[in-house]
Assembly symmetry: C2
Homo-oligomer: 345 residues x 2
Amino acid sequence: MNPPHLTYKESGVDIDAQDRALSRVKVLAGSTFTPGVLSEIGSFGGLFDLDARPGSGRILVASADGVGTKLNVAQMAGRYDTVGQDLVNHCVNDILVQGAAPLFFLDYVAAGRLVPERITAVVEGLARACTENRCALLGGETAEMPGLYHGEDFDLAGFIVGCVDRASLLPRDVARGQVLVALPSTGLHTNGYSLARRLFFDEKRFTVDSRLDDLGTTVGEALLAVHRSYFPSLHPILGQGYVTGLAHITGGGLPDNLPRILPEGVRAAVRTNSWEIPPLFGYIGREGNVPADDMRRTFNLGVGMVLVVKPEGADAAISALRSRGERPWVLGELEAGERGVRFTP
Amino acid sequence: MNPPHLTYKESGVDIDAQDRALSRVKVLAGSTFTPGVLSEIGSFGGLFDLDARPGSGRILVASADGVGTKLNVAQMAGRYDTVGQDLVNHCVNDILVQGAAPLFFLDYVAAGRLVPERITAVVEGLARACTENRCALLGGETAEMPGLYHGEDFDLAGFIVGCVDRASLLPRDVARGQVLVALPSTGLHTNGYSLARRLFFDEKRFTVDSRLDDLGTTVGEALLAVHRSYFPSLHPILGQGYVTGLAHITGGGLPDNLPRILPEGVRAAVRTNSWEIPPLFGYIGREGNVPADDMRRTFNLGVGMVLVVKPEGADAAISALRSRGERPWVLGELEAGERGVRFTP
């Protein structure tokens, strides 16, 4: 019997392929660098100099997130850049709701086998969204893990750090009588994909290329619509003093995410007739025969971000948002009651 | 035909099980909170107030990492806490080499099915290591992704942010004539597991419980030895001025990691007789018939961290490290030559 003769490459890890992908990644990341970035990727950690952002606040806000099983849809469609945008925008929104502007982002990509074109497509999406949010793509980790990820599977996680000064932290002074102003989502964002995938691909046996006449689009296009960032429209108006809270409507929907910014004794009254649920959600609810409460806890139903606004500032908020090309509407108001959400007609 | 009736839970996502695990996670994370932490986990992003660390530096250092396929070994052994320690310590070491002290850490855990006891075991390890490194476990994301992760598979990634003042950034003034001082690793740390797993579990058909007489331990114990942190021993001596650089010996080994801190025209001369390669590496090299160069590029071979020290400070560095319970040795020196590593007897 010959003794085994093992090398790292034969074990399924190709360091050279990783290096090729990483050199393209460095270029993409470099294109996002803001004045605070001190290091090039490739040193051990990424460096960010806070003095390059004078007056930007001494409180760091950090968040970690993934894209969830929207990744599976991206894989089915062979489209890898949009999930990078989804991830950055999701993270940006998560710290925006505390009043923060992003400083930098780091990613984690893991796959059974590293496909350089796929990694660079993901990073193209990350870099595009980072640029749109004035956020440096400061570093990340690309891991080839044969044996853990099977076939074409891969996972993608992100980590963001932003900053805010103490006086601008949100939520602050959220109180009954204040107005809920909603901004539309661009689709499912990054939540509800396990349910949606089961309906479209298991029950209906659609492919990503199947055309949905109700929606005027394909299943893949509908499900891969990019999770948008609210930062460019929202951050500039936060300094005007009328916004007391922001809720990013992610997993758990309105019922779970609105209460997170409410004090005890304050309830959100949400007028369900104030907006039209987009056709994609209607299709899922109808064709999947999904109970209304499950729809609300699983999907954003067309509401991507909710602002809590002082009543005297509601008109100003809506005008300011409209002037930035947004389509805001009054979703409801805060009333006395047990901390939670009451749905009204 | 009955119409489908889909709920999120039936799609494989159990939000309630997630909530149960998260409440224990909150307690564990809370135990790591340092004075800078402003928020409790559960708000959208974690908040860290830099003013709680006066004088701690205005340069943020961030790093992302995973545990790699050491996870598979943990899974085979049914032991989930040590990989949490591995991950935090790896990240802490990665920013320590730039002179930084950790501020906070966030984790990303993804699995096909969320097993609450397993998640809490992972977080116990994260929290233990965070406490040891005076690092707040500020938040994280736990994702249940049926369809992406199979069976018991899960993945774990981590993100760390630390800070340093500009004058203390490393490397600085690394130059020929300086001395390389090594600190021992505690095992494979988090690199080379694809090769090691192939040898132990595919070629040798061992289980984690197989006893290795050469090592006086089981395969599982040998492979799961915790990747140690060098922060408690090393950070206090960085202010003494004689350390010009630090290299964390991870994937790529000494040949890839030492050059990362060398200027052009400076080469590291590493004396291979200066230390005894620990039996685990000897066993892998011998039984796997792994070429010497592959061993050096895949494993740390017993060298976990390398300090570059000014010649006049070498004795002081070694005494200071010994007084902290370390077992340092002189690994070699920096000489004129092409940026890289030269191995000498």
